[in-house]
């Protein structure tokens, strides 16, 4: 296809009148969006970095303090604790949706009646309004009246305090996050499964491989790039998870579920310590930019493999 295009272009260039014709510039299409991006995305970045170098509290004059806000971070026990909470929350919120999402994708890859409709139902948790979901989960976590403790009692397990106990609050929130975001992993892996050719499965069937062997030695290696992408996206979303945590626990009990994002909210909009809040935002931001670079690198790789796939 590209050969034909180049030949056409060459033909155009060889014609005398067409020499004046130049490929048009597409800048006018991009400029309005560029203005918006500069105003609501670039400007806040720059301003945040500048603010992070100031002692800036609402209601008092600002003073330039250099890197003092940054130096305060490692000595702030609440921040250090928040980093720990964020990491454990993120690790669990990556692994569990990956496992369940892959299993779900294998099932949804089969053909059965009403598959599209059921897939629509399955992705409802990730599309539903997080605050509305959080509200119902809060009711379900209720130690006396919640349905979860009733379900536990049906299988003979003792009642739990869920989000009201500092040791179980993070796993409980991860339960919600997993319920909510397993569908995204499922969709990405399902896309990967659709790209697998049928030949390896046919020869495996002839060789008499069982279901587990087929999954372990054919499916899993072939969907690995997609699992990687899904894990990366899950990691970025879990790191900055806010709505569910904030609406269910506000970081509590005490500060047992306070992640970086929730702490950032408190510093900036409860204590109005905007300078220190900006420093937290910058550090948090750098963490995510590093992840973004990784994601882009992976996107390129995925693009490359899918191009190979379409040419084959």
């Amino acid at each position: 296809m590209s050969v034909v295009t180049q030949a056409e272009l060459a033909a155009v260039e060889n014609q005398p009148p067409a020499r004046e014709w130049r490929p048009p510039s597409y800048w006018p299409f991009v400029i309005p969006a560029l203005v918006v991006v500069l105003a609501v995305i670039i400007f806040p970045w720059v301003f945040t970095i500048w603010m992070s170098l100031q002692e800036w509290k609402v209601g008092s004059p600002t003073v330039f303090v250099g890197l003092a806000n940054y130096l305060r971070l490692p000595t702030d026990p609440r921040f250090v604790e928040a980093v720990g909470h964020t990491l454990s929350y993120t690790a669990l919120s990556v692994v569990l949706p990956l496992v369940f999402g892959t299993l779900a994708a294998v099932v949804f890859h089969q053909k059965f009646a009403a598959r599209g409709f059921l897939r629509g139902i399955f992705i409802m948790p990730m599309m539903a309004t997080p605050v509305a979901i959080a509200l119902v989960w809060t009711m379900m976590f209720h130690p006396q009246l919640g349905i979860l403790n009733y379900l536990l009692s049906l299988v003979g397990l003792p009642p739990q305090l869920w989000v009201f106990n500092p040791t179980t609050v993070i796993p409980s929130l991860v339960l919600v996050e997993t319920w909510q975001w397993t569908p995204l992993v499922m969709l990405i892996v399902l896309g990967g499964l659709a790209a697998i050719p049928t030949e390896p499965y046919e020869s495996a069937q002839i060789d008499g491989a069982n279901f587990w062997q087929v999954f372990r030695f054919i499916t899993l290696p072939l969907i690995m790039p997609f699992l990687f992408i899904a894990g990366m996206i899950r990691m970025i979303d879990a790191v900055k998870s806010f709505d569910i945590i904030f609406a269910i626990t506000q970081g509590g009990p005490g500060s047992a579920s306070e992640t970086i994002n929730v702490y950032l909210y408190s510093v900036a909009f409860v204590y109005y310590d905007l300078g220190y809040g900006s420093a937290i935002a910058v550090v948090f931001f750098l963490l995510i930019v590093a992840l973004a670079a990784l994601l882009l690198y992976l996107r390129k790789r995925l693009l490359w493999t899918s191009q190979l796939g379409s040419e084959a």
């Binding site: 991009v30 995305i41 399955f122 309004t129 009711m139 569908p183």
Partner: protein
């Protein structure tokens, strides 16, 4: 059908049931909570289907005079933020795809994955300084942080797959690039427009973090209104669940009706706002 195939069929349906049930049971339980009187919601063991449905819970939600304000706030913020995003984002996606300016996609990507709170500190000060905080304008503007990257990202992906030959032919025939965009590229990209529009609407509608900082008493959107009901109204579960269901119902309906477009968009860009 031989016995093995039948067994496989049963196994398949069993796994489908297991996989879909957390979603179905959750939303059924949500509906059940919203349709029960307090006495049923406070009983143990739980009542699943009450003898008398408390339709009053829904009537109460709609009757509270603020609810309609919040609903129209949500409509205005999501409507404006999505319309503006389509207006600037669709041409931008087209331009970026045609220029093959893959480096600009980095900005979009970073914008998409930066936590919403990072934008809020400087923009909050800016809006305060401009005296806009009592209006819906700050929320409309900051929702662009969510909607613009979604639209651009999806449209880049879409315009990259549409054929170039027609556009080149039109250009050589003397059409301006605007005419080419308007009459050749845009009609072909209609399914992509639908995907971008639906996802921008959903993620703007669902957004919570911008509202809790920027919304005042009169300018709350529905998610913020629901959050405030949690803190003040801990014990009346029926009306609370009814309000939650009303807030998320438009999105759930859209999800089931447009699941094909949503799935296409999400697998293309794995978008999530905020």
């Amino acid at each position: 059908m031989n016995p093995r195939a039948i067994l496989g069929r049963i196994g398949l349906w069993l796994s489908v049931f297991v996989i879909v049930s957390p979603a179905i049971l959750f939303f059924l339980w949500m509906a059940s909570l919203s349709l029960k009187f307090e006495i049923d919601n406070a009983s143990y063991p739980p009542v699943f289907i009450p003898e008398h449905f408390a339709w009053r819970n829904y009537a109460d939600v709609f009757a509270s005079n603020r609810f309609l304000t919040y609903f129209s706030n949500s409509l205005v913020v999501t409507g404006c933020a999505t319309a503006l995003a389509m207006l600037v984002g669709v041409p931008a996606g087209y331009g970026i795809a045609r220029m093959a300016a893959h480096k600009s996609a980095i900005v979009i990507l970073i914008a998409r994955i930066t936590p919403g709170l990072s934008y809020l500190i400087p923009l909050f000060l800016l809006f305060q300084w401009l005296g806009l905080l009592g209006t819906l304008v700050p929320q409309i503007i900051i929702h662009l942080v969510v909607t613009v990257p979604i639209v651009i990202w999806i449209m880049i992906g879409y315009f990259e797959t549409t054929p170039l030959e027609l556009e080149e032919a039109a250009l050589i025939d003397g059409a301006t690039r605007w005419q080419v965009f308007r009459h050749v590229a845009l009609p072909i990209a209609r399914p992509g427009l639908a995907v971008a529009f639906i996802l921008a609407v959903i993620f703007s509608w669902n957004n919570f973090v911008f509202g809790i900082v920027l919304a005042g008493r009169e300018t709350r959107t529905l998610p913020v209104a629901v959050y405030n009901m949690i803190s003040f109204d801990q014990l009346s579960w029926g009306p609370l669940a009814a309000a939650a269901l009303i807030v998320t119902a438009p999105v759930l309906l859209l999800t089931v009706m447009a699941q094909r477009q949503i799935v296409a968009g999400l697998t293309a860009g794995a978008v999530k706002g905020g």
